[in-house]
Amino acid sequence: MNWPLAPILLPLLTALVTLFWGRSSLPRRWFVAVSATMQLVVALHLTADTVLGRTFVLGLGAWPAQFGIVLVVDLLSAIMLSLSALITLASVLYGYAETSVRLEHPLRATLTQFLVMGINLTFCTGDLFNLFVAFEIMLIASYALLTLEADDWDIKHAFPYVAINLFGSALFISACGLAYKLFGTLNFAEISLRAALLTGDFRLHLLALVLIVVFGIKAGLFPLYYWLPNSYPTLPIPTSALFAGMLTKVGVYVLLRMFATVLPHELTFAHTLLAWLAGATMVLAVMGAISRNFIRGILSFHILSQIGFMVLAIGFFTPLSLAACVFYIVHHIVVKSSLFLIGGVALRLNGTDDLDRMGNLWKHTPWLGLLFLFQALSLAGIPPLSGFWGKYLIVVVGLQEREYWLVGASILASILTLFSMLKIWNGAFWTVSNSVPLRTGDRRWVGMTTVVAGLTVVSLVIGFGAEGVLRIAMQAAERLCDQQGYAREVLAYLGKAGGNLSP
């Protein structure tokens, strides 16, 4: 079964076809939408299969796992793939509702699909250097999208984004080299077996620290998050939703994968470091959010604050907290993307997203307000919406682990999140002002809102059907930590050479 390749190949082919299709047209739009839907179907199919305990291992070129590059889709990967497909679909549809065929940038669809390819490859790959390649695909596509429709104001904010990530990439290549010398292999499964023998080795700790910097940049940990808050607001709305939903979570996913599956579990120093960095991230970033006065700026900082919660869960490093992290990722991707999209609708209706010049939305577009209310309260962790459950688990684990300061920090961050959401609510939705235009005459907002409504339904299902998601998250976390099991599954892949080949 070559299913694990589909989430990578489908976006790649779609990107190439759209590239040669040229100008945007209705059939081209249909093609992309159908492809995005198919990606979602494939991802859900993979999830459904992996939930039953199966792990897909696919050697590319059918080489044994140690030699070639393997794609490994376990439950966590499948969940991430489904989320990425879901958000891509939403972003694509929203983009259709927002922009007429005539105005659509011809490269947007192509680059988006390339970006998705990079993201999906990150989730699937079981090889450290291939992970680097996946990151580069993702990054260069994100640079390209960032500057694709940028004007002279926006372009300035692309520069720090590119510079920081270039530095991160250089570190990552170096880390790949170091890891190769240290472990003699690049395959995750093989590394996990060999690293277990090096547990006390000082160099392993150093490598873990370098990896924390590399992936911390991607995930957006304090103080590595600077590339994000000013660059995201310059993106087109559908793209920003995709970025907000997926890019930093790729970093979190890799941190999870590295520390739970690949590196030995005894790296308590690194875990503690992650936990405290996460604590600092969630408080400082939410303060950054409060310091902003336009919706996308507030939301951009909130991504980081929420990353803090996820990484805090990784830092606690108990089976339950890892499950909390997975749950939080699932919740956050859906909620965050929809908040950006809602911000986009508000932006279109009011003509600005500067809170001082917005208003009238609750009065005339209650549906939009309702969607915002659900997602914003979910973000703040108000029960029983989806954001509550992750926080609940984090508090439970934090108290069990006696990390009272970090629990306090997470509560503080929740309160401040609520505060900044109220700022948006009061400014954009409740303010009634005659001087603020409300362009409901432009019917495009209806389509855009419908897309958000779809995502909101998903997040409501996550919230009220927490049991199902939680079970999946727990199973995912359990399998994530099962290094031996992972290695067994992956290394059992012998490819066409059968058992005759050994390193």
Binding site: D152, F159, V162
Partner: protein, 114 residues
């Protein structure tokens, strides 16, 4: 271990970092070009001491050969680095076109909104 390679890596990282932190577009660009090479050198160092070994082309299985994998990785990394460098060149050009400056300090001179 190869001491001179390690020292070279150190020098390159130092120079690259210093240049990257400068304000002039030219220097920043040069910095990143050096940085990419420096990172490649780290991987190169991982192929081990080449003394007394031959290139990884299997003609005589008995003669010792250097580790081919780091070389393959560097090849990939060089090409990727080139792509990214090209993008960076165009980005700097575009910044110059839009902002009429080649100095990053002038780029962000005015107060940021927010």
């Amino acid at each position: 271990m190869q001491l001179e390679t390690a020292l070279l890596i150190g020098v390159m990282f130092t120079v690259a970092t210093y240049l990257v932190l400068q304000r002039s577009f030219v220097k920043i660009l040069f910095g990143f070009l050096i940085l990419t090479n420096a990172a490649n050198f780290v991987v190169l160092a991982m192929s081990g001491r080449p003394d007394g070994k031959v290139a990884p082309v299997v003609l005589d299985p008995q003669s010792p050969m250097v580790d081919p994998l780091p070389q393959a990785l560097i090849l990939t990394a060089i090409v990727i680095g080139f792509g990214v460098a090209a993008y960076l060149v165009f980005l700097l050009y575009r910044l110059f076109l839009d902002q009429k400056t080649t100095n990053a300090a002038e780029l962000y001179d005015e107060k940021e909104s927010g």
